[in-house]
Symmetry: C2
Subunit: 582 residues, 2 copies
């Protein structure tokens, strides 16, 4: 054993004890005849003292220590003269009698401090150093805790964790698969799972009625800030349940996590909203309900007043920014420019200031008089001092643009506190969505989602209208999980593949094993998967999942620290019967 | 909710309760006016009763139920007339008033019973049905429990679980990698990890001094019965520790698992033995010490007596099979044939019967008289009634053959009870092993294992003699885990790669990131990995890890249920800049 204690545990009660500590040199200071060295490990920081008068040789040695040297130091715990109340070990220090340098360290390319001077790229290359910093360390500790508490909760409900395979079969449906060439089966490939979906359904057929797994999943997609080619799911499935059972069970999980990880209690049931309603009042299927600022449809009161833009629009929406009537011309211009950026794509923005004196000032005063603007205000629940922002256009587009604007205003007005958590169940998703590009239906969740029984009659006449027993959980505007009741009938599953444009042969070749399994006694079942990385980032109060993954990839899917991917030997390719064509 | 209770929970105390159960029809019997249906789920079996007299229609419906139909049945709990003490629910039955067929089932291709009539191949193809059988179900439940208890124990010691990446870099050292072509980085490949070795070492450099992960690993090797291309490790690493700390910590884990999963206590420390000693007396680095039957070297007493085979042999070993002096000629011939099989490869076998009357009868009576054979017996601790079996030849070969024979005799004599558990730490492994084929050294464990400091002086003069701070844990002759103190110094690591035949450039290209990390303050560290599948199979009392994996591959690396691997689309290959050459 190299140490008697860790660097976070010594207290005033330990005074006079002889201890040995190990860790990294955080910093050192020479003050006259004394040298102070802060030694750091995962658990904390402890101050070591070396005295030039009592032991000059040792003190000189201490003065040679560089930042991030790994040392072992033995000495006696003493009470500090000037205590540091911000550090749990700040009441004591160790007067050192023995010092060993376990390993020298080159000067790190950036400072190992909470606020570092290192840029993103440099820190990715030296991820092993970046991981020494408290913010990342705390994120990984949080992640571990969430994982443990998830297992504890699910175990208490008799869920069992069952590992499903990573080397599975490639299916062109959904996102792009990563494939793995098989040496033993020449010219054939495994795929890495995008999720354990079919396997967990097979486990339901096998009778394991409460399954879960915290499991890596893989998608070969072009990356964005919050996407990684490999990510982790809390994957769950239950048999003999209805949607309500699943919602109750996993609302319980999230409440358990909030309670045991964050100390936050949610005595009430999480609010619920249908997909249609969400789209109508928030323009998003994962609305951030930490703040109100709902959409108000103005079509009835703004049309036919000679303002062509509104007359031509399918939908005119207004939101109210509380207390913003004082926005300057410059602020409003900036906002207009913001919605006109290609990322948002609005043509323009109309505003109405509800002045403190009861009058209105709008950017369309030419077309609407005070009385008419008063109607806008009433419709938008705007009072004196508020600002109404209006967008118009085709329904889908204006909803999406207004969603962007709403979230932007929420952020601007400080209404999106990352330490406030507002979960929302979004229900009754459509089964299918029409894809303009390929001119066919895609599964909104995935092809195994069951249509609502009451909507089954529309499956031939108006498939786009069919709703599914599918549900998402959004927290603070982030989709943290989603699931559905699954199809458990061969014929319905076959019909679904048909709707999605599979030939019978394709469906059979790719998912025959599942449809086959349904014929041997499949129970009604459903489930849900949470994005583990996203839950961690939400709980941690940030947007970036990357900060909650020990070794993430960059936006080109590269691990710049180990330099992967990389070319492989010709012999290796030959064994795999492969040739690179670039 | 489809059910009020599960099929394993109703007891005599529940009599008169109205309940709803769901599950699969295990079997049904018509007895006069009554029909009994056993309904099964993960939790147990409950007997349902239908009465032709009181409800003819329902009873007729019950008589249409086939095996493995999924049903929902409602009724009243009543006390059984003839109780079944072997079933926890055997004191009650349910008199049914309502029956719903949730799903019909085709007749399964084999019986869903503890002893099934299905062959291996058929059961692999219909794995989702095989998983319904109790033996497999109990294995998966055991696996879940071992995983949970592992996490509980490690969490109690402040280990944190950190996920390491699955898409990493291919390295030609060790076993063959599975590779994953990168679409975004044309012509380049990721590799799936054979273990998280380098990442867990980086985590030590990062200061996470107690890491673990239950994690999938991948090796593209030709498969044997107890190997799978993907397998699971309990992967652990600690910093600021010596070998003894690691052994204590993980002996604690195994004791915890025995105690909490099997109810078995191990109050004593696990025995330990050096690698050299193991090879000398068991001919194996993972000896089964449930039984004695140690090797006895006979060289001194059997040479120079005119028996050329022994005179020419490098090593002559004898083992004593207790109470086997009565073996018939036929039995001995069979044993001789057994050691002569190519899998064992002995040229022949000599025996000495220690007759009950104190005389000896051997297959080499021509060369050895009674007095000489008495010396053999003394050397082999054989008493009257025992049988001595002797093999001879080159040291390595004879040890390996005698190990096979010893295990075979142990099995034959019933000395290998799968419910008796004998762990053994094997210590002081050699750092390197000489590979005749490639004429170079290979790392016995892996290239990151540290040489024993006291053996470092031989690293240039006699590298094959250098021992490592490496250790394995064997239980009942199976290596369940192994690890080592790691190199944490750039120069030593570079020397090691050099010994293993890497050029400087190769070492840098493949492991530069790790050697680089060592320069920024690497703590002394070491660790260990347990084969999770193997621990499960040992705890489950069988040899086959396949029975403890929900969806295993067959010996050609195929999942015959989903039919993977399989060919992929040309377009997919094109996106990956790949061409198949078969």
């Amino acid at each position: 054993m190299y140490r008697s204690h860790k660097n976070g545990e010594l207290r005033i009660e330990n005074v006079n004890e002889e201890v040995t500590l190990c860790g990294w040199v955080q910093k050192s200071r020479d003050l006259g005849g004394l040298t102070f060295v802060d030694i750091r490990d995962r658990y904390g920081i402890t101050q070591l003292v070396f005295n030039m008068e009592t032991n000059a040789e040792l003190c000189k040695k201490a003065r040679t220590l560089g930042r991030e040297y790994v040392i072992q130091a033995t000495g006696k715990v003493i009470e500090r003269e000037s205590k540091n109340k911000n550090n749990p070990t700040g009441e004591i220090e160790i007067t050192i009698t023995d010092l060993t340098v376990l390993k020298e360290a080159k000067l790190p390319p950036f400072t190992i401090e909470d606020d570092t001077d290192g840029g993103d790229e440099l820190r990715m290359k030296y991820r092993f150093l970046d991981l020494r910093r408290n913010p990342l360390k705390n994120n990984l500790i949080l992640r571990n805790k969430i994982g443990l508490e998830t297992r504890k909760y699910l175990d208490s409900l008799e869920f069992i964790e069952i590992e499903t395979p990573y080397l599975i079969k490639s299916t062109p449906e959904g996102a792009r698969d990563f494939v793995v060439p098989s040496r033993m089966n020449e010219g054939e490939f495994y795929a890495l799972p995008q999720s354990p979906q079919t396997f967990k359904q097979l486990l339901m057929v096998s009778g394991y009625d409460r399954y879960y797994q915290i499991v890596k999943c893989f998608r070969d997609e072009d990356l964005r800030a919050d996407r990684q080619p490999e990510f982790t799911q809390i994957d769950c499935e239950m048999a003999f349940v209805e949607q309500e059972d699943i919602i109750q069970t996993f609302e319980g999980l999230i409440k358990h996590l909030f309670s045991h990880v964050k100390g936050l209690e949610f005595p009430e049931a999480f609010p619920r909203m249908t997909y249609d309603k969400c789209m109508e009042i928030y323009g998003s299927d994962k609305p951030d309900i930490r703040f109100d600022m709902k959409f108000n449809e103005l079509n009835d009161i703004v049309k036919d007043k000679g303002f062509a833009i509104f007359d031509d629009a399918e939908l005119i929406l207004g939101i109210t920014a509380e207390g913003c009537a004082g926005y300057s011309r410059k602020q409003l211009d900036k906002l207009t420019k913001w919605v006109q950026r290609p990322q948002v794509g609005a043509k323009g923005m109309i505003y109405v200031k509800c002045n403190e004196d009861g009058s209105y000032k709008s950017s369309v005063d030419k077309f609407y008089n005070q009385e008419e603007l008063a109607k806008w205000a009433t419709k938008c629940n705007a009072k004196a001092g508020d600002l109404i922002l209006v967008l118009s256009g085709a329904t889908d587009k204006v909803r999406s643009q207004m969603n962007d604007l709403r979230l932007h205003m929420g952020t601007e007005l400080g209404l999106r506190d990352p330490q406030v958590f507002k979960p929302l169940w979004v229900l009754d998703f459509p089964l299918l969505e029409w894809d303009e590009e390929t001119e066919r239906f895609h599964a909104m969740h995935h092809p195994f989602t069951a249509p609502k029984p009451e909507d089954m009659e529309m499956i031939d006449s108006d498939p786009g209208k069919v709703r599914a027993n599918a549900y998402d959980l959004a927290i603070n505007g982030v989709e943290v999980g989603g699931g559905s009741i699954r199809i458990h009938d061969r014929a319905v599953q076959a019909r679904m593949f048909d709707l999605l444009g599979f030939t019978k042969e394709e469906a059979e070749a790719q998912f025959g094993f599942l449809m086959n399994a349904f014929e041997y006694g499949a129970p009604p079942h459903g489930g849900l998967a949470f994005g583990f990385d996203r839950i961690c980032s939400i709980f941690g109060g940030t947007d970036s999942i990357r900060d909650f993954i020990a070794f993430p990839k960059n936006n080109s899917g590269r691990d710049v620290m180990i330099d992967a991917p990389s070319p492989v030997d010709e012999t290796q390719l030959k064994e795999l019967s492969l040739k690179v064509t670039v």
